[in-house]
Amino acid sequence: MLEVRDLNAYYGKSHILQGVDLDVAAGEVVSLLGRNGVGRSTTVKAIMGEVAPIGSVRFKNKSIAGLPSYRIARLGLGYVPENRDIFPSLTVRQNLFLGQKDAGREGRWKLADMLAMFPNLQRRADTAAGVLSGGEKQMLTMCRTLMGDPELIMIDEPTEGLAPLIVKQVGELISEIARRGVAILLVEQKLSIALDISNRVYVMGHGKIVFEGTPADLKANEAIRREWLEV
Protein backbone atom coordinates (compact mmCIF):
# COMPACT_ATOMS: atom_id res chain seq x y z
CA MET A 1 0.00 0.00 0.00
CA LEU A 2 2.81 2.38 0.94
CA GLU A 3 6.19 1.89 -0.75
CA VAL A 4 9.09 4.15 0.09
CA ARG A 5 12.29 3.70 -1.91
CA ASP A 6 15.61 5.51 -1.46
CA LEU A 7 13.98 8.43 0.36
CA ASN A 8 16.28 11.36 1.13
CA ALA A 9 15.51 14.61 2.89
CA TYR A 10 17.46 17.66 3.99
CA TYR A 11 17.05 20.34 6.64
CA GLY A 12 19.12 23.12 5.11
CA LYS A 13 22.42 21.42 4.39
CA SER A 14 22.16 18.57 6.85
CA HIS A 15 21.31 15.27 5.21
CA ILE A 16 18.65 13.86 7.55
CA LEU A 17 17.27 10.91 5.58
CA GLN A 18 19.89 8.92 3.68
CA GLY A 19 18.04 6.45 1.50
CA VAL A 20 15.16 5.05 3.53
CA ASP A 21 13.29 1.98 2.18
CA LEU A 22 10.02 1.08 3.89
CA ASP A 23 6.76 -0.74 3.09
CA VAL A 24 3.37 -0.97 4.72
CA ALA A 25 0.84 -3.43 3.30
CA ALA A 26 -2.93 -2.93 3.50
CA GLY A 27 -4.21 -3.66 7.00
CA GLU A 28 -0.70 -4.14 8.38
CA VAL A 29 0.62 -2.65 11.63
CA VAL A 30 4.24 -1.53 11.23
CA SER A 31 6.40 0.26 13.78
CA LEU A 32 9.29 2.58 13.05
CA LEU A 33 11.60 2.54 16.06
CA GLY A 34 14.79 4.32 17.00
CA ARG A 35 16.31 6.89 19.31
CA ASN A 36 15.53 10.61 19.19
CA GLY A 37 17.00 12.49 16.24
CA VAL A 38 17.61 9.53 13.91
CA GLY A 39 15.02 10.75 11.39
CA ARG A 40 11.84 8.83 12.26
CA SER A 41 9.59 11.90 12.39
CA THR A 42 11.29 13.33 9.30
CA THR A 43 10.50 10.11 7.41
CA VAL A 44 6.80 10.53 8.15
CA LYS A 45 6.88 14.24 7.37
CA ALA A 46 8.62 13.57 4.05
CA ILE A 47 5.98 10.97 3.15
CA MET A 48 3.29 13.54 4.00
CA GLY A 49 4.99 16.30 1.99
CA GLU A 50 5.67 18.58 4.95
CA VAL A 51 9.41 18.11 4.35
CA ALA A 52 10.46 18.04 0.68
CA PRO A 53 11.02 14.36 -0.26
CA ILE A 54 13.76 13.25 -2.66
CA GLY A 55 13.22 9.70 -3.88
CA SER A 56 10.21 7.52 -4.55
CA VAL A 57 7.08 7.52 -2.37
CA ARG A 58 4.14 5.52 -3.70
CA PHE A 59 0.74 5.15 -2.04
CA LYS A 60 -1.87 2.80 -3.54
CA ASN A 61 0.37 2.54 -6.65
CA LYS A 62 0.39 6.29 -7.19
CA SER A 63 3.48 8.45 -6.82
CA ILE A 64 2.83 11.01 -4.08
CA ALA A 65 6.30 12.54 -3.73
CA GLY A 66 5.99 16.28 -4.36
CA LEU A 67 2.17 16.43 -4.07
CA PRO A 68 0.74 19.05 -1.70
CA SER A 69 -0.19 17.60 1.73
CA TYR A 70 -3.93 18.02 1.27
CA ARG A 71 -3.92 15.92 -1.93
CA ILE A 72 -1.95 13.18 -0.14
CA ALA A 73 -4.46 13.25 2.73
CA ARG A 74 -7.36 13.00 0.30
CA LEU A 75 -5.87 9.82 -1.20
CA GLY A 76 -6.50 8.18 2.18
CA LEU A 77 -3.26 8.72 4.07
CA GLY A 78 -3.83 10.00 7.61
CA TYR A 79 -1.17 11.64 9.78
CA VAL A 80 -1.14 12.30 13.52
CA PRO A 81 1.85 14.57 14.29
CA GLU A 82 3.78 14.21 17.52
CA ASN A 83 3.09 17.75 18.73
CA ARG A 84 -0.67 17.01 18.96
CA ASP A 85 -1.75 19.91 16.78
CA ILE A 86 -5.28 20.29 18.06
CA PHE A 87 -7.06 23.52 17.11
CA PRO A 88 -7.11 25.16 20.55
CA SER A 89 -9.79 27.79 19.98
CA LEU A 90 -12.29 25.30 18.55
CA THR A 91 -14.34 22.91 20.66
CA VAL A 92 -13.68 19.16 20.79
CA ARG A 93 -16.72 18.58 18.58
CA GLN A 94 -15.57 21.18 16.04
CA ASN A 95 -12.08 19.63 15.98
CA LEU A 96 -13.59 16.24 15.16
CA PHE A 97 -15.91 17.84 12.59
CA LEU A 98 -12.92 19.30 10.71
CA GLY A 99 -11.41 15.81 10.58
CA GLN A 100 -14.05 14.97 7.98
CA LYS A 101 -12.72 15.81 4.55
CA ASP A 102 -16.12 17.08 3.44
CA ALA A 103 -19.09 18.02 5.60
CA GLY A 104 -21.17 14.99 6.53
CA ARG A 105 -18.83 12.48 4.89
CA GLU A 106 -18.57 9.61 7.34
CA GLY A 107 -16.51 6.49 6.85
CA ARG A 108 -15.95 3.63 9.23
CA TRP A 109 -15.56 6.12 12.13
CA LYS A 110 -18.50 8.19 13.31
CA LEU A 111 -18.59 11.09 15.73
CA ALA A 112 -20.86 9.09 18.05
CA ASP A 113 -18.36 6.17 18.04
CA MET A 114 -15.54 8.43 19.09
CA LEU A 115 -17.48 10.05 21.88
CA ALA A 116 -18.73 6.67 23.11
CA MET A 117 -15.19 5.25 23.10
CA PHE A 118 -13.78 8.17 25.07
CA PRO A 119 -16.11 9.41 27.81
CA ASN A 120 -13.67 12.23 28.55
CA LEU A 121 -14.12 13.66 25.06
CA GLN A 122 -17.89 13.17 25.39
CA ARG A 123 -17.94 15.10 28.64
CA ARG A 124 -15.88 17.95 27.19
CA ALA A 125 -17.37 17.89 23.67
CA ASP A 126 -18.33 21.54 23.78
CA THR A 127 -15.32 22.99 25.59
CA ALA A 128 -12.37 24.57 23.82
CA ALA A 129 -9.83 21.87 22.94
CA GLY A 130 -6.99 24.06 24.22
CA VAL A 131 -7.84 23.24 27.85
CA LEU A 132 -7.73 19.44 27.49
CA SER A 133 -5.06 17.38 29.27
CA GLY A 134 -2.16 15.92 27.29
CA GLY A 135 -3.78 12.50 27.12
CA GLU A 136 -7.13 13.92 26.01
CA LYS A 137 -5.37 15.95 23.33
CA GLN A 138 -3.65 12.82 22.05
CA MET A 139 -6.98 10.98 21.86
CA LEU A 140 -8.53 13.96 20.12
CA THR A 141 -5.82 14.23 17.43
CA MET A 142 -6.03 10.51 16.69
CA CYS A 143 -9.84 10.55 16.58
CA ARG A 144 -9.82 13.68 14.42
CA THR A 145 -7.60 12.04 11.80
CA LEU A 146 -9.76 8.90 11.93
CA MET A 147 -12.84 11.01 11.14
CA GLY A 148 -11.28 11.50 7.70
CA ASP A 149 -11.49 7.70 7.22
CA PRO A 150 -7.86 7.03 6.24
CA GLU A 151 -6.77 3.67 4.80
CA LEU A 152 -3.34 4.08 6.33
CA ILE A 153 -2.68 6.17 9.42
CA MET A 154 0.80 7.33 10.45
CA ILE A 155 0.99 8.08 14.17
CA ASP A 156 4.05 9.89 15.50
CA GLU A 157 4.99 9.19 19.17
CA PRO A 158 1.45 8.84 20.54
CA THR A 159 2.54 7.85 24.05
CA GLU A 160 5.27 10.41 24.64
CA GLY A 161 4.91 12.11 28.00
CA LEU A 162 1.66 10.35 28.93
CA ALA A 163 0.75 8.57 32.17
CA PRO A 164 0.77 4.74 32.05
CA LEU A 165 -3.02 4.53 32.25
CA ILE A 166 -3.39 6.80 29.18
CA VAL A 167 -0.66 4.87 27.35
CA LYS A 168 -2.83 1.77 27.82
CA GLN A 169 -5.85 3.62 26.34
CA VAL A 170 -3.76 4.77 23.35
CA GLY A 171 -2.69 1.17 22.83
CA GLU A 172 -6.32 0.03 22.90
CA LEU A 173 -7.31 2.65 20.33
CA ILE A 174 -4.45 1.57 18.05
CA SER A 175 -5.60 -2.07 18.34
CA GLU A 176 -9.15 -0.95 17.50
CA ILE A 177 -7.86 0.93 14.43
CA ALA A 178 -6.10 -2.23 13.25
CA ARG A 179 -9.23 -4.33 13.95
CA ARG A 180 -11.24 -2.09 11.62
CA GLY A 181 -8.79 -2.88 8.82
CA VAL A 182 -6.82 0.38 8.76
CA ALA A 183 -3.08 0.00 8.14
CA ILE A 184 -0.85 1.71 10.73
CA LEU A 185 2.66 3.11 10.62
CA LEU A 186 3.55 3.75 14.25
CA VAL A 187 6.57 5.86 15.14
CA GLU A 188 7.73 5.01 18.66
CA GLN A 189 10.69 5.21 20.95
CA LYS A 190 9.44 2.80 23.59
CA LEU A 191 9.40 -0.84 22.62
CA SER A 192 6.53 -1.92 24.87
CA ILE A 193 3.34 -1.13 22.95
CA ALA A 194 5.05 -1.26 19.57
CA LEU A 195 6.21 -4.87 20.02
CA ASP A 196 2.81 -5.98 21.35
CA ILE A 197 0.72 -4.75 18.45
CA SER A 198 3.00 -4.69 15.38
CA ASN A 199 3.19 -7.22 12.57
CA ARG A 200 6.59 -5.91 11.54
CA VAL A 201 9.14 -3.45 12.90
CA TYR A 202 11.83 -1.24 11.39
CA VAL A 203 14.70 0.19 13.43
CA MET A 204 16.24 3.46 12.27
CA GLY A 205 19.70 4.82 12.99
CA HIS A 206 21.42 7.89 11.52
CA GLY A 207 18.93 8.43 8.71
CA LYS A 208 18.90 4.81 7.52
CA ILE A 209 16.92 1.65 8.22
CA VAL A 210 19.27 -0.62 10.20
CA PHE A 211 16.89 -3.50 10.98
CA GLU A 212 13.71 -4.97 9.56
CA GLY A 213 11.84 -7.97 10.93
CA THR A 214 9.07 -9.28 13.16
CA PRO A 215 8.79 -8.24 16.82
CA ALA A 216 10.06 -11.72 17.73
CA ASP A 217 13.16 -11.22 15.54
CA LEU A 218 13.88 -7.94 17.30
CA LYS A 219 13.42 -9.48 20.76
CA ALA A 220 15.94 -12.15 19.79
CA ASN A 221 18.47 -9.72 18.31
CA GLU A 222 20.18 -8.25 21.35
CA ALA A 223 22.98 -6.60 19.32
CA ILE A 224 20.58 -4.43 17.36
CA ARG A 225 18.61 -3.49 20.46
CA ARG A 226 21.76 -2.56 22.35
CA GLU A 227 23.28 -0.54 19.51
CA TRP A 228 20.21 1.31 18.21
CA LEU A 229 17.46 1.28 20.82
CA GLU A 230 18.48 0.92 24.43
CA VAL A 231 19.78 3.96 26.19
Binding site: M48, E50, P68, S69, Y70, A73, R74, G78, Y79, P81, D85, F87, P88, S89, L90, Q94, F97, L98, G99, K101, A103, R144, T145, G148
Partner: protein, 316 residues
Protein backbone atom coordinates in the same frame (compact mmCIF):
# COMPACT_ATOMS: atom_id res chain seq x y z
CA UNK B 1 -19.64 70.39 25.18
CA UNK B 2 -22.34 67.69 25.03
CA UNK B 3 -22.63 68.39 21.33
CA UNK B 4 -18.89 67.95 20.84
CA UNK B 5 -18.84 64.67 22.77
CA UNK B 6 -21.80 63.22 20.89
CA UNK B 7 -20.63 64.19 17.42
CA UNK B 8 -17.04 63.14 18.13
CA UNK B 9 -18.24 59.80 19.46
CA UNK B 10 -20.28 59.15 16.33
CA UNK B 11 -17.42 60.20 14.06
CA UNK B 12 -14.92 58.22 16.10
CA UNK B 13 -16.99 55.05 15.98
CA UNK B 14 -17.47 55.54 12.25
CA UNK B 15 -13.75 56.02 11.62
CA UNK B 16 -13.06 53.04 13.87
CA UNK B 17 -15.44 50.79 11.93
CA UNK B 18 -13.86 51.86 8.64
CA UNK B 19 -10.48 50.94 10.10
CA UNK B 20 -11.93 47.61 11.18
CA UNK B 21 -13.12 46.78 7.65
CA UNK B 22 -9.51 47.02 6.55
CA UNK B 23 -7.78 45.72 9.67
CA UNK B 24 -9.92 42.56 9.82
CA UNK B 25 -8.58 41.39 6.47
CA UNK B 26 -5.05 42.44 7.30
CA UNK B 27 -4.98 40.61 10.62
CA UNK B 28 -6.43 37.39 9.15
CA UNK B 29 -3.91 37.43 6.29
CA UNK B 30 -1.07 38.27 8.65
CA UNK B 31 -1.68 35.49 11.15
CA UNK B 32 -2.62 32.86 8.60
CA UNK B 33 0.11 33.34 6.02
CA UNK B 34 2.63 35.36 7.97
CA UNK B 35 2.46 37.98 5.24
CA UNK B 36 2.67 41.58 6.34
CA UNK B 37 0.63 42.98 3.48
CA UNK B 38 1.86 46.51 2.83
CA UNK B 39 -0.50 46.75 -0.14
CA UNK B 40 -3.62 46.25 1.97
CA UNK B 41 -4.49 49.95 2.11
CA UNK B 42 -3.98 50.07 -1.66
CA UNK B 43 -6.98 47.76 -2.06
CA UNK B 44 -8.96 50.31 -0.07
CA UNK B 45 -7.87 53.04 -2.48
CA UNK B 46 -8.58 50.77 -5.45
CA UNK B 47 -12.07 50.21 -4.04
CA UNK B 48 -12.69 53.95 -3.91
CA UNK B 49 -11.52 54.55 -7.50
CA UNK B 50 -13.21 51.51 -9.03
CA UNK B 51 -16.34 52.50 -7.09
CA UNK B 52 -16.08 56.04 -8.46
CA UNK B 53 -15.76 54.77 -12.02
CA UNK B 54 -18.67 52.35 -11.78
CA UNK B 55 -20.74 55.04 -10.06
CA UNK B 56 -20.16 57.34 -13.04
CA UNK B 57 -21.27 54.67 -15.49
CA UNK B 58 -24.07 53.00 -13.58
CA UNK B 59 -24.72 54.87 -10.37
CA UNK B 60 -23.65 54.44 -6.74
CA UNK B 61 -25.63 51.32 -5.84
CA UNK B 62 -24.15 49.03 -8.53
CA UNK B 63 -20.74 50.43 -7.53
CA UNK B 64 -21.32 49.41 -3.91
CA UNK B 65 -21.81 45.79 -5.02
CA UNK B 66 -19.46 45.52 -7.99
CA UNK B 67 -16.38 47.44 -6.84
CA UNK B 68 -15.66 45.13 -3.83
CA UNK B 69 -16.05 42.11 -6.13
CA UNK B 70 -13.56 43.58 -8.62
CA UNK B 71 -11.11 44.42 -5.83
CA UNK B 72 -11.60 40.99 -4.24
CA UNK B 73 -10.79 39.26 -7.53
CA UNK B 74 -7.73 41.48 -7.92
CA UNK B 75 -6.65 40.47 -4.40
CA UNK B 76 -7.17 36.77 -5.13
CA UNK B 77 -5.11 37.13 -8.32
CA UNK B 78 -2.31 38.85 -6.39
CA UNK B 79 -2.16 35.86 -4.01
CA UNK B 80 -2.47 33.19 -6.71
CA UNK B 81 -0.03 34.57 -9.27
CA UNK B 82 2.20 36.78 -7.12
CA UNK B 83 2.56 35.89 -3.46
CA UNK B 84 2.28 32.13 -3.95
CA UNK B 85 5.33 32.18 -6.21
CA UNK B 86 7.24 34.58 -3.99
CA UNK B 87 6.42 32.55 -0.85
CA UNK B 88 9.20 29.96 -1.33
CA UNK B 89 11.79 32.73 -1.06
CA UNK B 90 10.74 33.57 2.48
CA UNK B 91 9.03 36.36 4.37
CA UNK B 92 11.45 39.12 3.37
CA UNK B 93 10.69 38.50 -0.30
CA UNK B 94 6.96 38.56 0.45
CA UNK B 95 7.33 41.80 2.35
CA UNK B 96 9.21 43.45 -0.51
CA UNK B 97 6.66 42.10 -2.98
CA UNK B 98 3.70 43.70 -1.18
CA UNK B 99 5.71 46.87 -0.59
CA UNK B 100 6.40 47.16 -4.32
CA UNK B 101 2.82 46.27 -5.15
CA UNK B 102 1.59 49.25 -3.11
CA UNK B 103 3.66 51.58 -5.31
CA UNK B 104 2.51 49.86 -8.50
CA UNK B 105 -1.17 50.22 -7.55
CA UNK B 106 -0.66 53.87 -6.63
CA UNK B 107 1.10 54.62 -9.93
CA UNK B 108 -1.52 52.80 -11.98
CA UNK B 109 -4.29 54.73 -10.22
CA UNK B 110 -2.47 58.00 -10.96
CA UNK B 111 -2.06 57.08 -14.64
CA UNK B 112 -5.74 56.22 -15.01
CA UNK B 113 -7.40 58.83 -12.80
CA UNK B 114 -4.72 61.48 -12.36
CA UNK B 115 -3.17 62.95 -9.25
CA UNK B 116 -5.89 65.33 -8.19
CA UNK B 117 -8.93 64.17 -6.22
CA UNK B 118 -11.84 62.85 -8.27
CA UNK B 119 -15.40 64.02 -7.80
CA UNK B 120 -16.91 61.00 -6.02
CA UNK B 121 -20.23 62.25 -4.65
CA UNK B 122 -22.58 61.02 -2.00
CA UNK B 123 -25.62 59.45 -3.76
CA UNK B 124 -28.53 61.90 -3.90
CA UNK B 125 -30.76 59.40 -2.10
CA UNK B 126 -28.61 59.83 1.02
CA UNK B 127 -27.61 63.44 0.55
CA UNK B 128 -29.59 65.01 3.38
CA UNK B 129 -29.02 65.65 7.08
CA UNK B 130 -30.30 62.73 9.13
CA UNK B 131 -30.79 64.77 12.27
CA UNK B 132 -29.73 68.03 13.82
CA UNK B 133 -28.30 68.22 17.30
CA UNK B 134 -27.84 71.70 18.70
CA UNK B 135 -26.39 73.37 15.62
CA UNK B 136 -24.78 70.41 13.85
CA UNK B 137 -26.38 68.63 10.92
CA UNK B 138 -25.39 64.97 10.92
CA UNK B 139 -25.35 63.63 7.34
CA UNK B 140 -27.48 60.59 6.55
CA UNK B 141 -24.62 59.17 4.49
CA UNK B 142 -22.50 58.79 7.61
CA UNK B 143 -25.25 56.80 9.29
CA UNK B 144 -25.40 54.63 6.17
CA UNK B 145 -21.63 54.03 6.45
CA UNK B 146 -22.12 53.02 10.08
CA UNK B 147 -24.90 50.59 9.16
CA UNK B 148 -22.88 48.96 6.35
CA UNK B 149 -19.82 48.56 8.57
CA UNK B 150 -21.80 47.00 11.41
CA UNK B 151 -23.63 44.65 9.01
CA UNK B 152 -20.34 43.45 7.55
CA UNK B 153 -18.83 42.92 10.98
CA UNK B 154 -21.81 40.81 12.04
CA UNK B 155 -21.74 38.81 8.79
CA UNK B 156 -18.00 38.20 9.02
CA UNK B 157 -18.21 37.10 12.64
CA UNK B 158 -21.13 34.76 11.95
CA UNK B 159 -19.30 33.24 9.01
CA UNK B 160 -16.13 32.61 10.99
CA UNK B 161 -17.81 31.07 14.01
CA UNK B 162 -20.89 29.36 12.54
CA UNK B 163 -19.86 27.88 9.18
CA UNK B 164 -17.56 25.00 8.33
CA UNK B 165 -15.46 27.23 6.08
CA UNK B 166 -15.13 29.67 8.96
CA UNK B 167 -13.95 26.92 11.32
CA UNK B 168 -11.38 25.76 8.77
CA UNK B 169 -10.14 29.34 8.44
CA UNK B 170 -9.93 29.66 12.24
CA UNK B 171 -7.95 26.41 12.45
CA UNK B 172 -5.65 27.48 9.62
CA UNK B 173 -4.88 30.73 11.46
CA UNK B 174 -2.72 28.82 13.90
CA UNK B 175 -2.12 25.38 12.34
CA UNK B 176 -2.06 25.58 8.52
CA UNK B 177 0.02 22.38 8.20
CA UNK B 178 -2.38 20.32 10.31
CA UNK B 179 -5.36 21.63 8.34
CA UNK B 180 -3.65 20.45 5.15
CA UNK B 181 -2.89 17.04 6.69
CA UNK B 182 -6.63 16.62 7.29
CA UNK B 183 -7.22 17.02 3.55
CA UNK B 184 -8.35 20.64 3.36
CA UNK B 185 -7.12 22.64 0.37
CA UNK B 186 -4.99 25.19 2.19
CA UNK B 187 -3.71 27.07 -0.89
CA UNK B 188 -7.34 27.66 -1.93
CA UNK B 189 -8.18 28.84 1.60
CA UNK B 190 -5.24 31.27 1.52
CA UNK B 191 -6.34 32.66 -1.84
CA UNK B 192 -9.93 33.06 -0.68
CA UNK B 193 -8.96 34.77 2.57
CA UNK B 194 -6.70 37.14 0.68
CA UNK B 195 -9.50 37.86 -1.80
CA UNK B 196 -12.12 38.41 0.90
CA UNK B 197 -9.69 40.62 2.86
CA UNK B 198 -9.09 42.73 -0.25
CA UNK B 199 -12.85 42.90 -0.92
CA UNK B 200 -13.51 44.15 2.64
CA UNK B 201 -10.90 46.88 2.12
CA UNK B 202 -12.62 47.59 -1.21
CA UNK B 203 -15.99 48.04 0.53
CA UNK B 204 -14.34 50.46 2.95
CA UNK B 205 -12.99 52.36 -0.06
CA UNK B 206 -16.34 52.58 -1.83
CA UNK B 207 -18.22 53.86 1.19
CA UNK B 208 -15.43 56.14 2.42
CA UNK B 209 -14.69 57.58 -1.04
CA UNK B 210 -17.64 60.01 -1.17
CA UNK B 211 -17.28 61.00 2.49
CA UNK B 212 -13.52 61.59 2.48
CA UNK B 213 -11.36 62.60 -0.48
CA UNK B 214 -10.83 60.05 -3.25
CA UNK B 215 -7.25 60.57 -4.34
CA UNK B 216 -4.14 58.52 -5.01
CA UNK B 217 -2.53 59.37 -1.68
CA UNK B 218 -5.41 57.96 0.40
CA UNK B 219 -3.67 54.58 0.76
CA UNK B 220 -0.47 56.08 2.10
CA UNK B 221 -2.47 58.18 4.58
CA UNK B 222 -4.24 55.22 6.12
CA UNK B 223 -1.80 52.33 5.67
CA UNK B 224 0.42 52.89 8.72
CA UNK B 225 -2.57 53.24 11.06
CA UNK B 226 -3.78 49.80 9.97
CA UNK B 227 -0.60 48.19 11.24
CA UNK B 228 -1.05 49.98 14.54
CA UNK B 229 -4.60 48.60 14.79
CA UNK B 230 -3.48 45.05 14.01
CA UNK B 231 -0.63 45.05 16.51
CA UNK B 232 -2.55 46.84 19.28
CA UNK B 233 -5.50 44.48 18.85
CA UNK B 234 -3.35 41.36 18.75
CA UNK B 235 -2.38 39.37 15.68
CA UNK B 236 -5.10 37.15 14.27
CA UNK B 237 -7.77 38.34 16.70
CA UNK B 238 -10.89 39.78 15.09
CA UNK B 239 -12.26 40.97 18.44
CA UNK B 240 -8.90 42.62 19.06
CA UNK B 241 -9.01 44.29 15.66
CA UNK B 242 -12.49 45.62 16.42
CA UNK B 243 -11.53 46.92 19.87
CA UNK B 244 -8.32 48.53 18.60
CA UNK B 245 -10.09 50.06 15.59
CA UNK B 246 -12.71 51.68 17.80
CA UNK B 247 -10.10 52.76 20.35
CA UNK B 248 -7.93 54.43 17.73
CA UNK B 249 -10.92 55.87 15.88
CA UNK B 250 -12.21 57.51 19.06
CA UNK B 251 -8.75 58.52 20.27
CA UNK B 252 -7.96 60.39 17.08
CA UNK B 253 -11.37 61.99 16.64
CA UNK B 254 -11.46 63.29 20.20
CA UNK B 255 -7.84 64.43 20.17
CA UNK B 256 -8.35 66.47 17.00
CA UNK B 257 -11.17 68.41 18.62
CA UNK B 258 -9.29 69.30 21.79
CA UNK B 259 -7.50 72.60 21.85
CA UNK B 260 -5.98 72.01 25.23
CA UNK B 261 -2.29 72.44 25.97
CA UNK B 262 -0.20 71.62 29.05
CA UNK B 263 -0.05 75.27 30.10
CA UNK B 264 -3.87 75.42 30.00
CA UNK B 265 -4.04 72.49 32.40
CA UNK B 266 -1.66 74.15 34.87
CA UNK B 267 -3.04 77.63 34.46
CA UNK B 268 -5.10 77.54 37.64
CA UNK B 269 -2.47 75.85 39.77
CA UNK B 270 -0.35 78.95 40.00
CA UNK B 271 2.47 77.18 38.19
CA UNK B 272 3.56 79.12 35.13
CA UNK B 273 6.38 77.77 32.99
CA UNK B 274 8.74 80.21 31.38
CA UNK B 275 7.77 80.34 27.68
CA UNK B 276 11.29 81.43 26.77
CA UNK B 277 13.03 78.35 28.17
CA UNK B 278 14.39 75.62 25.85
CA UNK B 279 11.36 73.41 26.18
CA UNK B 280 8.96 76.32 26.44
CA UNK B 281 7.19 75.44 23.20
CA UNK B 282 6.26 72.08 24.62
CA UNK B 283 3.84 73.75 27.01
CA UNK B 284 1.86 75.35 24.24
CA UNK B 285 1.46 72.27 21.99
CA UNK B 286 -2.24 71.39 21.93
CA UNK B 287 -3.66 67.89 22.02
CA UNK B 288 -5.10 68.54 18.55
CA UNK B 289 -1.59 69.11 17.24
CA UNK B 290 -0.27 65.80 18.53
CA UNK B 291 -3.38 63.83 17.46
CA UNK B 292 -1.67 62.19 14.47
CA UNK B 293 1.09 60.85 16.72
CA UNK B 294 -1.22 59.36 19.37
CA UNK B 295 -1.84 56.00 17.64
CA UNK B 296 1.90 55.43 17.35
CA UNK B 297 2.43 56.33 21.00
CA UNK B 298 -0.23 53.75 21.81
CA UNK B 299 1.62 51.25 19.61
CA UNK B 300 4.86 51.82 21.51
CA UNK B 301 3.11 51.48 24.88
CA UNK B 302 1.40 48.25 23.84
CA UNK B 303 4.64 46.79 22.51
CA UNK B 304 6.36 47.59 25.80
CA UNK B 305 3.66 46.43 28.22
CA UNK B 306 1.65 43.81 26.31
CA UNK B 307 3.49 42.65 23.19
CA UNK B 308 0.75 40.15 22.34
CA UNK B 309 -1.72 43.00 21.86
CA UNK B 310 -4.96 43.59 23.73
CA UNK B 311 -6.65 40.33 22.65
CA UNK B 312 -3.87 38.39 20.97
CA UNK B 313 -2.15 35.32 22.28
CA UNK B 314 1.03 35.33 20.25
CA UNK B 315 4.12 37.50 20.26
CA UNK B 316 4.36 40.17 17.58
Amino acid sequence: MAELVLISTLNGVLFGLLLFLMASGLTLIFSMMGVLNFAHASFYMLGAFVGYQIARWAGFWPALILAPIVVGLAGAAVERFGLRNVHKNGHVAELLFTFGLAFVIEEVVQIVWGKSPVDFRVPTLLDFPAFTIFSTNYPAYKLFMLAISIAIFVALFAMLTRTRIGLIVQAALTHPHMVAHLGHNVPLIFMSVFGVGAALAGIAGVIAGPALVTQASMAALLGPILFVVVVVGGLGSLQGALAASLLIGLLQTFAVSMNLSLSDIFVNSGFSPNPKSVLGDLWRVTIAQIAPVLPYMLLVLVLIFKPTGLFGNRET
